[in-house]
């Protein structure tokens, strides 16, 4: 069953949270300005964007070849490659590797891909605790909460909430709400766990087909810890994360930090190629995840969503995200990119059919996208798919729009409808209609409706010109 109103319902609930609105406004506007400043420093930004787009498009068009090249290079470098068709397969592979190491705990680098497949929950069910080590992810995990932003997952929480949570869970009652103090508390808690963990789990920002290298870009150093300290490292990659050559990183390591945090360069970039004796993990497992991606690839218009490098610039400029927040999207991928990626990965199932409509089509997302994903165009494409595949013949919206199309298809019908509109304007029917559930009532919630003028333009034209 598809639900085209899921987002509207969830958003209405989130909008009532004034604290969330204030946090989001502050955070999105701050990052937005930082990004704009960082981008304006580069005279060749548009060329970089174009290069990023072209490389990603090329990868998506030749993914079969690059995946095999990646597997070959990684295997030659001493890594193990696993292929996972869906979330269940991927989770089972990870659990098997952790259990083979006789571990019941793993430290994790923040990863959307593992959130997408519900890895933590699956591991928990298998008796393995996966500890999130990114500061914000740790906060959410300690509180049983979920991320609401790709890059700033706890954007909806403020520091007094965090202090109270830490007091309850990992620190004593004397903890203050100074950000440094909060960070120190998390660091003390995590350090010990980094040192004792046998298994580290990561996602990846990029995988290099040519060399089998995996790249993680981060700010806190927890990723560096997770990928170097434990003896066993498991990295889960969506199959679309590949770049052909090592030198392609030159483009993406410029595009990503400036677009995401508004920094020229992110603090930590970790690259590892298989295993190196005496240094880092002794065993490397890489899980290549499909989970709907090959189906998305088969859609010539929609597939550009797979070019996303998860920078979250589109979230930070989106008027809808800024008000509704990430939870309203009910997906690991919120904001404009989520509105085109989630429904495609889920094949428009359930509430994901509402996401292509969760946009005013303002186009700000496209302008900031570092790989030039034409998000508005894909939103429109997916709306077309929703109507073609999900909206039933008996749906009142379909009935209304098809009637309207029939009116527009014939000038006489159109002019009769205009005259009817003018009659209704004076009648009590309009007042009544505004009380019935429907578009008019929805409009009137926050806005007045202008009067229908007594004379249409075409009537004036006829009286004037003939």
């Amino acid at each position: 069953m598809s639900d085209t109103k899921a987002f509207a319902r969830a958003a209405a609930k989130e909008l009532a949270n004034t604290q969330l609105r204030a946090n989001l406004y502050r955070a999105t506007h701050t990052i937005r300005a930082k990004r704009a400043a960082a981008v304006s420093e580069l005279p060749d930004w548009e060329e970089l964007r174009e290069a990023g787009r072209a490389i990603k498009q090329h990868v998506l068009e030749h993914l079969d070849r690059y995946l095999l090249e990646f597997e070959q290079a990684l295997t030659a470098a001493g890594g193990h490659v696993h292929w996972a068709r869906d979330a269940a397969e991927a989770n089972a592979i990870v659990a098997r590797v952790v259990k083979a190491a006789r571990a019941d705990e793993a430290v994790k680098v923040k990863s959307l891909t593992t959130d997408e497949i519900g890895l933590n929950e699956a591991l928990e069910a298998a008796g393995i605790h996966a500890l999130e080590t990114d500061f914000a992810e740790l906060i959410l995990q300690l509180d049983g909460d979920t991320p609401s932003h790709i890059l700033v997952p706890a954007i909806h929480r403020n520091r007094t909430e965090i202090r109270d949570l830490f007091r309850r869970t990992i620190a004593g009652p004397e903890l203050g709400d100074d950000p440094r103090e909060l960070a120190a508390a998390a660091r003390r808690y995590l350090r010990e766990r980094f040192l004792r963990a046998k298994v580290g789990i990561s996602g990846a920002n990029f995988g290099i087909a040519e060399t089998g290298t995996i790249v993680v870009v981060e700010s806190e150093g927890n990723g560096r810890m997770c990928t170097t300290l434990p003896h066993i490292l498991i990295s889960v990659l969506g199959i679309e994360k590949l770049l052909p050559r090592f030198e392609d990183l030159g483009v993406f390591l410029q595009l990503l930090p400036r677009s995401s945090t508004g920094e020229r360069m992110n603090p930590y970039t970790s690259l590892w190629t298989g295993v190196t004796p005496g240094d880092g993990p002794k065993e490397l497992h890489v899980v290549l995840l499909d989970n709907g991606r090959t189906r998305v690839l088969s859609d010539a218009k929609g597939r550009q969503a797979l070019a996303c490098i998860r920078c979250s610039a589109c979230l930070n400029v989106c008027p809808v995200y800024e008000r509704a927040g990430g939870h309203a999207y009910e997906s690991v991928y919120p904001g404009p990119i989520g509105a085109i990626l989630t429904p495609q990965l889920a094949d428009l199932a359930g509430g994901t059919a509402s996401l292509p409509y969760a946009s005013s089509l303002c186009g700000a997302c496209y302008d900031v996208c570092p790989v030039k994903i034409r998000i508005p165009e894909v939103l429109l494409h997916l709306r077309g798919r929703v109507v073609a595949e999900k909206i039933g013949r008996a749906d009142p919206e379909r009935a209304g729009l098809e009637t309207l199309a029939a009116i527009f298809a014939d000038r006489n019908r159109y002019e009769r409808a205009q005259r009817l509109g003018r009659v209704l304007r004076r009648s009590r029917i309009r007042a009544a209609a505004a009380r019935l559930p429907g578009p008019l009532r929805d409009w009137m919630q926050a806005r007045d409706l202008p009067d229908v003028p007594p004379q249409s333009f075409r009537d004036w034209w006829r009286s004037e010109k003939q």
Binding site: K5, F7, A8, A11, A12, L15, R21, P319, V320, R323, A324, P356, Y357, A358, S359, S360, L361, C362, G363, A364, Y366, D367, E377, L380, R383, G384, R385, V386, V387, A388, E397, R398, L401, E402, L404, A405, F408, A409, R411, Y414, G421, P439, D442, W443, Q445, A446, R447, D448, L449, P450, V452, P453, S456, F457, R458, D459, W460, W461, R462, K465
Partner: protein
């Protein structure tokens, strides 16, 4: 020059003054304006809501109605964007449609149209004019040349007003929240009049201002340029 007016179904029915202003303005500049009376809707509403079959039919109809018109002007950026950018996606070759400010500045080569409008005006670049059709500073050039007009800066003017066509009703609460912030910015800028290239966005903004009891008016660019 002979110019065909595509007034849009929305302006035809709800904002006839805008269409009249375009006619007066262009005739005043010495051009001949035609109005193909068979015209109805470009199909944008259906296309944007996902009803592509209906949109394609309306697109084909539009092209046949305007067949033979070399220059078409349209006082709505979103409708221009529909024809220009999305007709090809429906398999329809788009005719040459110009948004009003594009026509004036690029095709007719005028910034100064002889208008007089002694008011404080804020210009809200609608998303479809700014990031769709990309009219750039053309409307501002036209407004700056209007006698008596004081252009006031609108903070965050490049941010969406929250209209978005059917978005305004499908996601009413979110749309209203975006509108609330836009209205606050408009109120703070000290303008008497908010001007834009799309009456749809202006109806939404005006509806919000009117609901809040604000006396600010919303006026389409064409009506300012036609004021004498």
């Amino acid at each position: 020059m002979r110019i065909a007016l595509f007034v849009t179904c929305f302006n035809d029915t709800l904002f006839p003054e805008t269409g009249k202003a375009v006619v007066r303005l262009l005739e005043g500049l010495g051009h001949e304006v035609g109005f193909p009376e068979e015209q109805t809707c470009c199909g944008q509403l259906h296309f944007n809501t996902g009803y592509r079959r209906d949109a394609a039919r309306l697109a084909r109809r539009f092209v046949s109605v305007f067949d033979g018109c070399d220059t078409i002007v349209c006082p709505s950026a979103s409708c221009v964007g529909m024809v220009r950018d999305y007709y090809p996606e429906l398999g329809v070759e788009p005719p040459a449609v110009f948004e009003l400010s594009e026509l004036l500045v690029d095709r007719l080569g005028v910034d100064e149209v002889g208008a007089v409008y002694p008011h404080r005006v804020a210009y809200h670049p609608t998303c479809h004019s700014l990031r769709g059709v990309r009219v750039g500073n053309r409307p501002l050039r036209l407004l700056r040349a209007v006698a008596g007009l004081e252009l006031v800066e609108l903070a965050g003017s490049d941010e969406c007003c929250g209209f978005g066509g059917t978005f305004a009703v499908k996601n009413e609460a979110t749309s209203a929240a975006i509108l609330e912030d836009k209205c606050r910015a408009i109120r703070a800028c000290g303008a008497e009049v908010v001007c834009a290239l799309d009456n749809s966005c202006l109806m939404h903004i005006g509806g919000g201002l009117s609901r809040a009891g604000d006396p600010l008016r919303t006026v389409h660019l064409a009506e300012i340029l036609a004021a004498r």
